[in-house]
């Protein structure tokens, strides 16, 4: 099965929650992947323990952009304590693919950004 299936290509071409806000977020982070120069900035807005808004922006390969997009879509509306338990499996499930070690960093760059943002709270 190709890694570049329709869902991934759709989220790569039209990433959801793309574009950060000028309004102050509850938490934000910037992360990058030194192996390819990919960089992602993420913002989360929390109200009464729930993530009410999440957005990201940056540059990267199809896999990193699609995974960040899918993760944002999945995260929005969830309780912070639920989101804190997200791991690599969560992301791979959203992507519906098996990722080789060479692409794990691409697939998890959004998760890394989300975790870093939460860690600043």
């Amino acid at each position: 099965m190709t890694l570049y299936h329709d869902t991934i290509m759709d989220h790569y071409r039209n990433p959801r929650h793309f574009g950060c806000s000028k309004f102050k977020a509850s938490a934000s982070s910037s992360t990058h992947n030194p192996s390819c120069g990919d960089a992602i900035k993420m913002q989360i807005y929390i109200y009464k323990g729930k993530i009410t808004r999440i957005c990201f922006e940056g540059e990267g390969c199809a896999l990193s952009i699609a995974s960040a997009s899918l993760l944002c879509e999945y995260t929005k509306g969830k309780l912070l304590r639920e989101v804190q338990s997200f791991d690599e499996e969560t992301v791979l499930h959203l992507l519906q693919i098996d990722v080789t070690p060479a692409r794990t960093r691409c697939a998890t760059i959004g998760l890394k950004a989300l975790r870093q943002a939460i860690a600043t709270l």
Binding site: T2, C36, C61, L63
Partner: protein
């Protein structure tokens, strides 16, 4: 008719694979595999103190390999050849041992921005450990002339530059550095400078003469010249090796061991602690005989033509989509570094991989170079004797599909 491709059993297992990643590792030549198999199946015993005929056979084969490799590099004596796990171990050995005896807060190391991390990080870290200067020549392998490159090195060399560590061929762009000129100018400024050469990308492509290159040390890996993994060579001038401190301790590297003191064997044994990679050493010598054979044939010229064909096809078929990053003034050897506009290198390589076309993408263990060239990452096609114009045509068709899919 037998072709050079028939010398690589890989293709009978993978007839449809387009292998364009030989700078990462070459495929293995039949003679290297036969030597490996012969040792493991018919005389797989340990070398050194065995008094029985099979041990003597293994011992002779191991030492004959050292002799053949010395001959291949035109070293003065087999004692100038040290077997290591690979080029990385060789460079760490040098950084550690030369670092202990030669560098200090006044005397440091000079390397270049185009180095593979293996010839960069060990020097950076050892300089840090000894609080010594660590300088980086900011050469540009795409735009600079021979003269500009030599000038850039010269600018950084002083009487206090203890070590100059540089690569023969860039593993990213394929640019061939003018080693003899650089060495000559370095020694004019500082006759005591130690010159270390990373030959990982050159050994499979050219006749190497370490005496003519006028270097003190050189390293390469067996798996990048049609041989096995797990073995590399450290060449060192005899006088330099004699003065070098051992790097690891254990069996076979000692002369005499006492309760409180030990003395060490002569080079190269003092750098080969423990049971060495016997099978790999024997196999590597066969691989280098194969290299010798292809260098003296037309294959080398064919490879030059094939590289030129690859660049020409990129320019002809994708004038607005593909940027080839190659030297304007210096020779490039077997590597074509490129980026595809609006397509991430990881996606390009992965999509080609799904079409059975093997290339590499990323920083190729050369992050300082990518930062210097302001390219976050790149795609790399690396050719070898078994590649044909069909491989290049398949690559071009693959790139067309990638651009269609990603745009």
């Amino acid at each position: 008719m037998n072709t050079i491709r028939d010398r690589f059993p890989f293709f009978s297992h993978n007839p449809h694979v387009v292998y364009l990643d030989s700078a990462a590792t070459t495929l293995k030549a039949d003679v290297a595999l036969q030597a490996l198999n012969e040792y493991y199946t018919s005389y797989s015993v340990n070398i050194h103190r065995g008094m029985y005929p099979l041990a003597q056979k293994a011992d002779l084969a191991y030492h004959a390999s050292r002799k053949k490799i010395a001959h291949f590099l035109n070293a003065q004596t087999p004692d100038e050849i040290v077997f290591t796990k690979g080029a990385t171990e060789g460079l760490n050995l040098l950084a550690s041992s030369l670092g202990q005896s030669l560098i200090n807060p006044e005397r440091g190391v000079l390397t270049s921005v185009i180095e593979h991390h293996a010839n960069f990080v060990p020097w950076q870290q050892i300089a840090k450990k000894h609080n010594a200067p660590f300088q980086v020549a900011l050469i540009n392998p795409l735009t600079m002339t021979v003269r500009e490159i030599c000038d850039e090195f010269e600018k950084n060399i002083t009487q206090d530059t203890a070590i100059l560590a540089l690569t023969h061929i860039s593993n990213v762009t394929g640019t061939v550095l003018p080693i003899q000129e650089i060495a000559h100018r370095a020694r004019q400024i500082n006759p005591h400078i130690i010159i270390v050469l990373d030959m990982c990308q050159s050994v499979q492509h050219m006749s190497i003469d370490v005496q003519q290159l006028d270097i003190d040390f050189a390293v390469f890996s067996g798996h990048k010249c049609f041989g096995p993994t797990g073995i590399g060579v450290l060449y060192g001038k005899k006088s330099r090796l004699d003065n070098l401190l051992p790097y690891q301790f254990g069996g076979d590297m000692i002369y005499e061991v006492g309760l409180s003191q030990s003395s060490f064997a002569e080079a190269p044994s003092k750098f080969e602690a423990g049971t060495p990679p016997i099978a790999q050493a024997i196999s590597l010598a066969s691989a280098l005989e194969f290299v010798q054979e292809i260098i003296s044939s037309d294959c080398h010229n064919n490879l030059k033509d094939l590289r030129a064909y690859c660049v020409k096809q990129f320019e002809k078929l994708f004038p607005n989509d593909v940027v080839v990053h190659q030297s304007k003034h210096l020779d490039s050897c077997a590597i074509v570094c490129f980026t595809v506009n609006r397509c991430h290198p990881h996606d390009v390589a992965h999509m080609l991989g799904e079409q059975n076309i093997c290339i590499r993408a990323g920083h190729h263990c050369a992050q300082p170079l990518h930062k210097h060239l302001n390219i976050p990452s790149s795609c790399r096609v690396s050719l070898s004797v078994y590649n044909t114009t069909d491989d290049i045509d398949n690559l071009m068709q693959g790139i067309t599909r990638v651009i269609t899919q990603l745009s």
